[in-house]
Subunit: 321 residues, 2 copies
């Protein structure tokens, strides 16, 4: 019976060289697997002889708050919400996890997400007095295997803020949505004053304001670990790791934004900011970069279901159609 | 019709929070996608409304040499060979690619594999005069998106060897098998004299010799980027990147080996070696480490379908059963 349910829930999509089936699963089913989240007891009737079995990836699990009792309806809301957020393609498929209002891919080596995907509209961002940021708490993500999980203690006395990748202010529909942005899997060590609390926050607000211009705004946010030329003339990647779990401190952060106009025109903007003090008077436009440069550095392809040639503008400049 | 074929080829396996379907696809089908290997035109009849579509991962594509005409039979051989190699679980599921005699996961950010998996037996390693190493050529892996692909030019004048992860000497059944180990996706920048050509080679030979002790030997090989305490008392990960594609030079390499005895007993050994000159007189045992330490550092779980409590020995020491 179980196998039937699984098969029914499986969306099959043909990738280049791969098919990925997708399955929306309740959080409660994860509980027994905390120790080895990526392994599972394999039901024999689900396998075919001669084909390898994939034992891994916590792929796109909608995570629902424990207080949420109405799982059935919630789940169906979630799956369509996730399709909406991820409409233009996944940047990569490494340890993808979906929350109620954002989706992320977790980098188990660096203990920071590879990318976080959000979908913003003016309506979704409107003032909601039900939601209280002061009630949110930074929480370790129990769905990540303990070997790879970042903890609050890692950040303590590190000198870095727990910086949101999916911004709290983007998820004001429900208290649960905002609380989920406080999961440590959505955090990266960020310089506090001058960055997280200032220029990075300016960029987050700028992206929210794009919902006044575009009907739909899609934003992908993540860390970069960029090389620098050192004294010997060679290039090195160098970054600090904090706490006993060695949480990586990214050298830079990116945001790739796609705005869709009411008449279905697409415009893209790409930003890279150093994880450092930035003067509040430095214009955000100074941090615009070609999207390809972020793709190369991050090892990801952004909005790959949306052909670049279909974009009207990149970084404010018209693309010859 | 195509959708039927795809669905038929899909193995569905229930992971914690995810189902991954697996599809063996011919290399020739990749040709048109060189520019955007991870994107694909989605057949509408393959999707269900309300479920997200995974647009990515070149998951476990058996790569067959172009000279190989008999694709049908080859493909079925490959899939069972891949199940054999991956019998005890995938360490991770990021950009998995399968060759005829080994399977790897490619790290698109660092342009070096995350891990390479091999299965060795005495019979498979026996002398074969059909196979000539001198005919093998280092070849860029065209199945990797050009943004993330390492090239021979990256290694040129870098001072590093193109070091095999799946060792050439482990794949002597067919010329094709050995040639595939010369794909640059199976290479990492390694210190030449004193490491690649010496102590690392000693370790590779040691692993081959384990086939005299065990009926089956499974070996997973990969790079590490380990942090070091610097002068300021903080920990930093620091590694060189070479060439215009910024191929990462790992600080260390690991090998996790599982030997299965004729009476189905399992023993595990784990080694970590610095990517540096190592004296030929240093015993290999000096490089043995707890497997968990490699898992934490690499962000991977090795042999996760094989419970650690079922192992008879780890690093030569008996485990209390």
């Amino acid at each position: 019976m179980k196998s039937m349910r699984l098969l029914t829930n499986c969306t099959v999509a043909a990738g280049v060289g791969g098919i990925i089936g997708w399955f929306a699963r309740k959080n409660s089913e994860l509980d027994n697997h905390e120790k080895h989240i990526d392994s599972f007891p394999l039901s024999k009737h689900l396998t075919k002889p001669g084909l390898p079995i994939f034992a891994t990836v916590s792929a796109a699990v909608p995570i629902t708050n424990n207080e949420d009792k109405d799982m059935g309806s919630k789940l169906s809301t979630n799956t369509s919400r996730i399709s909406q957020i991820m409409k233009h393609g996944f940047p990569g498929l490494d340890n993808v996890r979906s929350f109620d209002d954002f989706v992320l891919s977790y980098d188990r080596r660096n203990r920071v997400a590879h990318w976080v995907f959000e979908h913003l509209t003016k309506e979704r961002l409107s003032y909601n007095d039900k939601v209280d940021r002061s009630k949110c708490e930074f929480t370790a993500d129990q769905s990540i295997h303990p070997f790879f999980r970042s903890e609050n203690t890692d950040y303590k006395r590190s000198g870095y803020d727990r910086g949101h990748l999916a911004a709290a202010g983007n998820h004001k529909m429900e208290q649960t949505h905002m609380q989920q942005t406080f999961m440590l899997s959505n955090m990266a060590p960020q310089v506090g004053a001058g960055f997280n609390r200032d220029s990075w926050n300016r960029l987050e607000k700028y992206v929210r304001d794009l919902t006044k211009v575009y009907k739909d705004v899609y934003v992908c946010t993540g860390p970069l670990y960029l090389p620098k030329v050192e004294a010997d003339g060679k290039k090195y990647v160098r970054y600090e790791v904090i706490g006993s779990n060695h949480v990586a401190v990214p050298t830079h952060f990116y945001k790739i934004v796609v705005g869709e106009t009411a008449d279905s025109k697409y415009e893209m903007q790409a930003f890279v900011m150093p994880n450092a003090v930035i003067g509040n008077d430095v214009p955000l436009q100074n941090f615009m970069v070609p999207p390809e440069s972020v793709e190369r550095a991050a090892g990801l392809l952004f909005f790959d279901k949306l052909s670049r040639s279909k974009l009207n503008k990149i970084n404010g400049k018209s693309i010859k159609g």
